[in-house]
Symmetry: D2
Subunit: 375 residues, 4 copies
């Protein structure tokens, strides 16, 4: 693991997600660019001191030099955005598979470069867009793909948060500080941090590709350097339209990402606050509530459930599904067997490129006086 030292949030989540299914074992880490802090975290995690590194470079090079059956199998990169590309590049160049937190890179150029590298090395790359790891999100996609909803006409996705309703970055809150700092976060704030999640979810569930956007991007809190709020009108490749809302100043909201997709025959709705339900509202018969773990779900959804219906699995489990599928795919590759299609269903480098393009285009549109710009 690279990153995830003292004060970090997402590093601990990656570790829990990786632990859950007993397929992955944390064997080494460079948890901080400060070697002492890295050591502290590493010891807390029961790692032997020889596998606790002071920098990602040291770690990748040292591990690469170990015998194949003793070295780490892959790298998880959980640092702020400006520290994604270089470690990933080095890991790939040294033959390690990569799990990366989102958004994929600092800018679109890095994203394109990374994509080339992943493709040329043939290594496995997973981008942790958590929300597509939920079984009922996978079911939603399957329902759309099955054609039961008919041609898709509308896609609404929203991701309201309230935690940046105050200038937390002035209170030295670590999460807020780097996310609102253009030198670490990149050209976007909320649109990069959560807008990309919403965008990824919309394209994943609908199976559509965005063609045009019209964005209203705002800095609501005076003194903030990056957008903390925005709304985007969308046009998709099949003619459907939609909107995407991502805001971090919706006071009182937690993390309620939600998607609705309407086709000719029905609309479906999923939201994280009721993550184990998928509601399908039919045009001319009663709405249905599909539930995680139920026997009638698609193979794709059931593969991502650990427990029978009624035993709620949450955000860590969704996160863990990406890790599990990545691990299953990686183990299959190592063993030389073919991956099942369910295993391959995790976000990859192409999702990352599309996300970075989303960031660039949304910021561009936000500044434009033209209504529509090409995605």
């Amino acid at each position: 693991m690279i990153g995830g030292g003292p004060g970090a949030f997402i590093g601990a989540v990656h570790r829990m997600a990786a632990n859950l299914d007993g397929l992955i074992e944390l064997v080494c880490g460079a948890f901080s660019s400060d070697a002492e802090r890295s050591m502290i975290t590493g010891k807390e995690l029961f790692l032997p001191v020889t596998r606790i590194y002071g920098s990602y470079k040291e770690m990748i090079r040292t591990e690469a030099g170990l015998p194949a059956d003793q070295r780490m199998d892959f790298v998880s990169i959980v640092t702020p955005n400006h520290l994604h590309f270089e470690p990933a590049k080095l890991a790939l160049e040294n033959g390690f598979h990569v799990v990366m937190d989102k958004p994929m890179t600092f800018n679109l150029d890095e994203a394109n470069a990374l994509k080339k590298l992943v493709e040329s090395t043939g290594l496995i790359f997973c981008l942790t867009h958590t929300y597509t790891g939920y079984p009922m999100v996978k079911e939603a996609r399957q329902q759309v793909l099955s054609g039961k909803l008919g041609k898709i006409r509308k896609v609404f996705v929203e991701y309201p948060q309230g935690w940046l309703s105050d200038l937390l970055e002035e209170q030295d809150q670590k999460q807020a500080s780097w996310r609102t700092d253009p030198s670490k976060s990149g050209m976007a704030g909320a649109m990069g941090d959560i807008g990309t999640h919403a965008f990824n979810l919309a394209e994943y569930v609908s199976g559509l590709r965005t063609e045009k956007i019209c964005a209203d991007v705002n800095i609501v809190l005076e003194g903030r350097q990056l957008d903390d709020d925005g709304a985007v009108l969308l046009k998709f490749d099949n003619g459907a339209s939609g909107f995407l809302v991502a805001t971090q100043v919706a006071s009182g909201e937690e993390n309620n990402i939600r998607i609705r997709v309407y086709g000719e025959n029905a609309g479906l709705e999923w939201q994280q606050e009721d993550m184990n339900s998928l509601i399908i509202k039919w045009k001319d018969k009663p709405a249905e509530i599909l539930r995680a773990g139920a026997g009638y779900l698609s193979k794709s959804a059931l593969h991502n459930c650990r427990t029978p219906a009624g035993h709620p699995e949450g955000w860590i489990e969704a996160f863990a599904n990406h890790y599990r599928n990545f691990a299953l795919t990686t183990m299959a590759k190592i063993k030389g067997i073919e991956s099942k299609s369910e295993w391959l269903d995790f976000p990859g480098v192409e999702d990352g490129v599309r996300g970075m393009r989303f960031i660039q285009k949304v910021i561009e549109s936000g500044k434009s006086s033209d209504k529509w710009i090409e995605y």
Copy 2:
């Protein structure tokens, strides 16, 4: 009553709403432009045949000629949009107060003319934007006005319906036929029919005024003549931004108008599917569920509740609140006493003008390649 004959929907609703509180009695009507059909409806409603008229002109003129204590007190106009202005004009010119279904007129010019007439006659005018009649919508407005939420930053309003997911107008469904016909509905379809409701609700609850809009207006079903779908980015006079969604092709949706308003300290949420609850999500304390009929509500909300908490009042009651407040205001005027502020809280001619301006501007923006246009 003018309109509301065989096959009509909203006419019956107006009658129930007027009946409910025992303050208003239906005394006469011109229910159809076809005298025979008007007679059928009038008889079903137990009216004496002498008060069942074959046209609104006949009704207004005849009633105006009756002694003051025998004539009708006011007129309810429940016809399609193209038949709003003329009857209203005639009624006002003959000294009758007016209740009008929304949107107020066929176009903005008529709206402005009507406003002048209402102001010059001093008569009372009520526009039935139903949703602001709900007690918890009134409470929402009071919460915003109280300043507890802090400065308003975001306003989200949405009105998804699914009933026009098919070309019902080709099946001769009366409701669909006139609403999708530009000669009866006006320049807008969904944006006029339900977009104006959403717009009115947003301005009512937030207390803000719209300054700029950017609209995506769509005809989703091929062959339809008016928009059946749209989304609008909004900028308000205090700098807040927001969006408005109104669609009639969200298959499976019923009539779930919903509003969320976020201020510095909290967000509030109301939706018709849970109409007797108002949720306030505080930034740093537990969310609260305020309930219709509860003793802790504002005077404004409680005035519009008929029953104690836990006895759900619905859409007809919300509708009836406008009628009740209109009736209380009208009776006060007749008796020469002053109306209480709660009585005066019903939508009037200014709401109607703003709604018609919304229609005009949204359609204009929908056709424009500029992002923002002035409201």
Copy 3:
């Protein structure tokens, strides 16, 4: 109307319910046993003073003496329980149909006597057990009757209220005072006031008849004279079991009556807080949400909807459904035509007798050390 004077709650509700559909007109009333107070209410209701009576006896006798086309058609009795039987008896003896608030009488003997009288006169009698007036409760019954759920195995009904969590009767609150007074309410408090509603709902929806009960009946607030809380284990005639909870000391609860019925294949659930939905949870397919006003409902449910799906109808509308069906049945009888089966679907004297028997048996069981007693 008999009762419903100053300070009353349910009288106003009966009037709104009767008004709503324009089928019934309030023509006279004895609103209080105090002639002056009766006059005050009557005038507020715009009645001519000649039809405002100082006692129910005066009213019934005077009205009976009017020509048939000028006298009232039926009587609504909305007084406390101890004043139900005598007015009903007199009304029936004078040829008037009767609408009665619940529970039907002061005790079981009166109930049996009333039943005989209704049967012998052939007049129409309606008991306002409000909750069976909801369209989705009617749909629930139809779903059970259709056999889709299979043999019924379990019936859970609960009616939690919190309004008697304090000794309101010591604060002279009119509603609390008579309901907690054995000389006015009868032998039961909560079990009579709301337990009978729950019992009626359970038998109505399940189509079963209670055979044995085991009751825990409590006076939770010290100093109170009648039960304010209770729970009852039930055995039904088909072998199913269930429970009924009725409490008025569940602090914070409003009026959330709720029923769940489980058969071999599915369970259904309805609760007043979401009164326009009926949820059916199937054993092996997705749960369904049936909605008031939707085209797929049974004829019985749709007959009791006034508006299309998505326009919430509430408690007053449910109440009004009983009035409407009573009125349609009564008008049919007057016109000598046959009533449709939907019109006849309102609670009658047999429901009243069963409710009074429930009260007697529950109180008996509450005092018994035997587990089961025969219903």
Copy 4:
């Protein structure tokens, strides 16, 4: 780990729960009484073959013989009920701490014996009553303990499942087979399997102790040997009353355990289907929704949250909380430091004894014709 071999459900859950926080590592197991099947599971779990045992006796004795720093630290017992006591006894006698699935033993005698053994050895014992591991259940208990609700008057707990609506035991479903077999499950079926969960939850949240019960215990499906359904009236030590429902034949229900506790000032409500919310309904102010992860929660609740509000944690996390607290307590003991009060908050042997007593008394009451029996 003892048990949890091929076909088991709860064993895998224990492993995920133990894995999650990186505090516990699976080092050995006797996963089946069949040595071959134990080996299969052990290998799937990446254990070295030397630590995969053919029986619990072999495992405990062999591990006990290993050097202290190489042997397992504790035993998890996840076998059917009839195989709980003997392995636990042997483990304790050999100095191993124990985690045990519920209900604790096969009968009350074993439970009492186990309690003595735990007390005499001073070893740490954790019983996995999952539901008290949820942070919002812990918050519920803290709210009651704080006195804010006032004296508790009512406790309602229900645990409806539907999975035994058919005779799955005749289809050789492993979970159903042992649970409905008196030789493996003990004297109770549903009442032992889930009734004990509900009972534990009720006493944990309310802080009350049961004094009298009146039970209706049913075998609903013909041919079944143990109860699959029941309801219990309860009397608590402070005079409060309540009910407990546990059924496995509520067709269509998943696993929706739910508790409501009412005091003088408010009622609280928690249910697993919305596990991250705790609703407090105040008598005279708006209801509040408390949310997992929120800063305003008690220390006890926050200690059991891994993520900020809005990142749903589910059933596995609740389960893992018991493991984590058990591990923290055990590590503290090993290190000779004092446990924090939050760490000690997991179900122990006394909960187990009370659960077994509940089973015995409920079955006794179910057969009795007396209404109340002493707990």
